[in-house]
């Protein structure tokens, strides 16, 4: 049984990871700390889940019973806390993006290596059932040589308060590193790298605050050309209107030389129609898949499916997209 501690409920994903860890038979949700935004929610969740509550992460990390931590604090504090967690010998599931800069990502990776602990960063699409099926079909040659991908990784207009969570730090570039593109594109990029099984050669992007007038970007479009010739388009951001039926929507068109795959929304759902239509997800295979992969890497002492290096590569591509958007030029890797 692995004792898991959650550091911070600043990121709303902490709610779902909390319940997912709590219901996993290989883990125990042992402790929660209330650093960063939403400290009050962290305290309430700790009571609800019968987990120990610490008001700061230092005391959680000093608790020797904690084996692993899930860090969901504001991105600008990832480096500080991930390094401390590694120093205390805790395995780490670290929210994406890995850090604000590549230098910070390097420092985290170095600390983790030195401590000999596991580090995983959660990117969801590759843990969804339809995309796993698509990947298997590509790898077995069922659609011929992969040629082109159109990918959507989009969220709806973010409320500043979601289920009582204060998310205003997402609109502060110094804390989040960027807006809708920084928030959602890492998922799309990870899945592209995984599907294409190669590295990008160039990226060209337009990212901006175009829809809602937030102080950070809300929509981004990127075109990537991979070394093996695959061309991909990624739409990512928060550009959907509030009335959109999906929360995070993940969707792909894959064109192979001998086949075309239309991969629809990642999460199985049902729809409730009242004054408005609402989709309710009945399963999140992606989150339980991430949690299982993380726990198994600890139990079986093997590399997690998504490593720190992969998360750093992901960030490098995201930052290159912002660079391209800023300069209007193609960025070459």
């Amino acid at each position: 049984m692995i004792n898991v501690g959650i550091i911070s409920y600043a990121h709303p994903h902490a709610l779902r990871y909390g319940t997912t860890f709590a219901s996993n038979h290989k883990a125990k949700l042992y402790a929660i700390s209330g650093d960063g935004a939403n400290a009050d929610i962290a305290r309430t969740e700790a009571q609800k889940m019968k987990a120990k509550f610490y008001s700061n992460y230092e005391s959680l990390l000093k608790d020797e019973k904690v084996d692993a931590v899930y860090i969901a604090i504001e991105t600008y504090r990832h480096k500080e806390i991930a390094i401390r967690a590694a120093e205390e010998g805790k395995h780490i599931l670290l929210e994406k993006p890995i850090a604000l800069t590549l230098e910070d990502a390097d420092k985290i990776i170095k600390a983790v290596k030195k401590a000999g602990v596991k580090l995983m960063v959660p990117f969801n699409p590759r843990f969804t059932v339809p995309l796993k099926k698509a990947k298997a079909m590509i790898d077995s040659g069922e659609i011929g040589n992969l040629e082109y991908i159109y990918a959507i990784s989009e969220y709806v207009k973010p409320p500043i308060f979601l289920e009582g969570l204060d998310m205003s730090w997402f609109l502060d570039k110094n804390k989040s590193g960027g807006g809708g593109f920084m928030d959602t594109a890492p998922h799309g990029i990870d899945s592209l790298l995984w599907l294409v099984n190669d590295e990008p050669k160039t990226i060209y992007a337009s990212i901006g605050s175009k829809i809602f007038g937030f102080p950070v970007d809300d929509i981004g479009t990127a075109v990537l050309e991979f070394k093996n010739g695959v061309v991909a388009v990624l739409n990512a951001g928060w550009a959907n209107p509030k009335g959109y039926s999906y929360g995070l929507e993940i969707k792909y068109y894959l064109l192979g030389k001998e086949g075309f795959l239309d991969i629809r929304t990642a999460y199985p759902d049902f729809t409730v129609y009242q004054d408005k239509a609402e989709k309710i997800y009945w399963e999140r295979a992606d989150v339980s898949g991430i949690v299982n992969s993380f726990l198994n890497s600890i139990i079986e002492d093997k590399e997690p499916l998504i490593t720190g290096e992969m998360a750093k590569k992901n960030l490098e591509i995201i930052l290159a997209a912002y660079e391209s958007s800023k300069t209007g030029k193609l960025v070459k890797f």
Binding site: Y148, T202, K210, I211, F212, N235, G256, G259, F260
Partner: protein, 341 residues
């Protein structure tokens, strides 16, 4: 003014699939001459309208005609249009306006000099789907900021067909490209400033002809708007899956509109395999679009309406596709200067 006398040049694919039936429904005009270099085709077409058949251009143009419709392969548009204009005929030419923007400019200059009308068959502007979506955008006060428009299919013609020849049809980037570049300009109501093009040759037909069959354009428009144009002849489904042609996804201020292939009226047929039969002779357009286009064009020629799309618009659509191809060759985004020249 009596009925407009129409002459047709090129009685092949697009004539038989689209223009023939549209022209039959328009009572205000009379097709009097049909020309094709293949005598059999000219004769068959002429029979449909009780018209005369021709196989040579000079003979055809020496007749008394008000309007010449040019429905031939792209590389012949310019020469035929110039000759028709010089012999005093108004001209309606299928899209793309010409193979190159240089030729297109010459056509426009001559039409102006001769004080004749030159119109280009950009059918999308007359398709009720796109007209209605555009009206909804306006009525609901939406401002498109990012539009993805795809026109994708599996081109059913053999590698010897002119479509595949860069010096005859220009490849998919020109042939379907001009539809989408015009569509984006029409919807955004702003001008392109920078274009990135990426092309691929996926099918053998494209590879042996040294042309692209899958082409992506990312086009930056004034006002920080982003257009994605995807055109392809390399999609792998057979023509019986006809509905999978158009994709439209508009994100903007005050909402999103998405038109997916499955929003098209569909009859799903399950036998030993699943198929969705075509409901229109063309994959890309409802037959009504051609009729609406031609009715409008004839009214423009009669001086009763202002053109909804001018030859200049068609020229810009072609210039955008040309810049995109140049960008693909150079591997970097290029500034678009065409409109301001």
């Amino acid at each position: 003014m009596g009925k407009l006398k129409i002459g047709i040049i090129g009685c092949g694919n697009i004539f038989n699939l689209a223009h023939k039936n549209a022209l039959k429904n328009i009572k205000e005009v009379k097709v009097v001459s049909c020309m094709d270099i293949k005598a059999k085709r000219a004769k068959e077409a002429a029979k449909e309208f009780n018209a005369k058949a021709y196989t040579t251009l000079d003979e055809f143009l020496s007749q008394e005609l008000d309007v010449v419709e040019i429905l031939t392969p792209t590389y012949t548009h310019a020469e035929l249009a110039v000759k028709a204009l010089k012999s005093g005929k108004h001209v309606i030419v299928e899209k793309p306006i010409a193979l190159t923007s240089k030729e297109a400019k010459k056509m426009i200059d001559i039409a102006e000099k001769e004080d004749l009308t030159l119109l280009v068959g950009h059918t999308r502007r007359f398709d009720k789907r796109w007209i209605q979506i555009k009206e909804v955008i306006k009525k609901r006060n939406m401002v498109p900021m990012q539009i993805r428009k795809a026109e994708v299919q599996r081109l059913p013609f053999p590698e010897s067909a002119w479509y595949w020849k860069p010096n005859k049809g220009g490849g998919v980037a020109i042939d379907l490209g001009v539809h989408v570049t015009d569509f984006l300009r029409w919807y955004f109501k702003s001008e392109p400033v920078e274009i990135l093009g990426i092309g691929k040759a996926i099918r053998k037909e494209a590879q042996v002809n040294n042309t692209y069959d899958h082409f992506l354009m990312m086009i930056q428009f004034e006002g920080n708007k982003t257009g994605l144009a995807e055109v392809s002849w390399a999609y792998s489904y057979p023509a019986r899956y006809g509905v999978f042609y158009h994709h439209l996804d508009i994100l903007g201020k005050n909402g999103r509109i998405r038109y997916t292939p499955l929003d098209t009226p569909v009859v799903g047929v399950v036998k030993h395999h699943f198929e969705m039969p075509r409901f229109s002779p063309l994959l890309s357009a409802f037959p009504e679009a051609f009729e609406a286009e031609l009715r409008h064009f004839f009214r423009v020629i009669m001086g009763k309406e202002e053109p909804r799309i001018t030859a200049k618009d068609a020229l810009i659509a072609l210039q955008m596709a040309e810049i995109a191809i140049e960008s693909a060759k150079r591997g970097e985004p290029l500034e678009f200067k065409g409109v301001r020249e």
